[in-house]
Symmetry: C2
Subunit: 314 residues, 2 copies
Amino acid sequence: MVYIGIDVGGTGIQAGVVTEKGEILCKGSIVTRTDIPFADQVAAMARCAMETVEKAGLTLNDVKSVGLGVPGIVDPRTGRVPFCTNLGWHDVPLNEEFRKHIDKPVFIGNDATVAGLAESVAGVSAGTSSSVFLTLGTGVGGGIIIDGKVWNGFHGVGSEIGHMILEADGVPCTCGNRGCLERYCSATAIIRMAREEMDNSPDSMIMEMAKGDKANINAKIVFDAAKAGDPAGVKLFSRYVKYLGQAIANVINFLDPEVIVLGGGVSKAGDFLLDAVREETPKYCLYKTMPTSTIYLAELGPDAGIIGAAMLGQ
Amino acid sequence: MVYIGIDVGGTGIQAGVVTEKGEILCKGSIVTRTDIPFADQVAAMARCAMETVEKAGLTLNDVKSVGLGVPGIVDPRTGRVPFCTNLGWHDVPLNEEFRKHIDKPVFIGNDATVAGLAESVAGVSAGTSSSVFLTLGTGVGGGIIIDGKVWNGFHGVGSEIGHMILEADGVPCTCGNRGCLERYCSATAIIRMAREEMDNSPDSMIMEMAKGDKANINAKIVFDAAKAGDPAGVKLFSRYVKYLGQAIANVINFLDPEVIVLGGGVSKAGDFLLDAVREETPKYCLYKTMPTSTIYLAELGPDAGIIGAAMLGQ
């Protein structure tokens, strides 16, 4: 038996046929259209999924279940999506609508959650019983696996690690609160901190790499400058790692999972980031001499969305 | 069948015979002695437990298991206690030592964790599948129940909610870090904030109730002053509730349990505190219009330690 996994993104939707071990046999994709009604969006997704099954030389008889990873809040118990801003959804019955096209068990999950699940089935955290996945991108998302199962809260509003307060009365967040973790640990945060810092360090390599325009600064430029020993780069990198270490230590002091996995664009900095974070995090853990969560980088990349969505049915 | 629950405290040790519904049939207690070797401490606990069983008119044949709630880190998988400062224990084999006296399955848990378990079996969160218990006392402890089971981390160092960072680079904590949640949400925090505030408000009712000596200020005095409308009292209470609301919202945004239970000395403020916290918390939740964790006050009081320890064997 195989599983269909659908990664519902704001610009594109990817469908994949996935084995029980989390291997993708075949993939297909469509462009996300927000200008058509919800029912038509779902019909297009189901068509894409069916075509992918056929392309793999299989039929629906070979499919055990369908999983959908959605960039919003989902309620796995009811199969409804209360909010998904990128798709323009508000309290839609996603499971029910999808089953009109493919009559198999349908499961839904948040996109960061399914990426975490994918890593725990076929990626760096495979074989572990508990893990917390952090996507460090434009924002900070989270996926929690406990006893091998996804946990996104009793009401489906959990694992929003990016909106835990890390600095009471801190930097204003897009969510309306202040001091949320993602204001310090996202790629966006690195860029904001770097732009602010450039007023003090106009001669930094960062400005040179950004061709003299602060608008061109991105996380990679800051990390590259840090690697090259540029003082402003080193200062910004250390500051970022300190915040990220505190955020990870909060996860450890609260949930203490077997492993913590860092994904998202920022994690592409690789071992340069991982080594620094592994050194910084224990400083903020309560029990410094006890064994605790091992921190890894995600390894599945963009396929994690398809794999994790498929694995919701396992 | 009944269960033995032992609440191991820094000053006293309570043993109880508990039914499977979490009702205490009989209790006994001994004074905690830290001047005797570990083996002798455990022997005394086991004797107290046996006497309590006999006092209940039962024998060991009626006992299914023994649970011990310990004010420190525990490793339920190995039955060892890596640290328990109050008892002077460092990496002791508690389960193994206890079974030399009473040869029944032995389970151990952290004291805040077992108090949370007790509430979820026989208290305010009975019948719920997930809950987070917060003890608001000298420090802030936590107990996490997921899918009806205790979760204190893969390595046993989780549920230390009091040491999650709520204010990066904030108030120094006894643990060596800065800005830990318990520096803002414990009874100790209320007292600290009140003493500081008294320099600005020497005419406050708080100083009167403390007989003119800041050293006499306690959380009850501050809350009573707030209830009576004393401006400094109201200000301090609002500040405390804001921090506690942020802390609870962090738990919701991360774990979103079915319910959150507030216990410990501060929770004795009752509905005055509960109503304010219920109003404040949603301000810091990411999804303000979604149903989320209901907040309650603990209802079992000091017996929670015995009941929860006993229920570890269920």
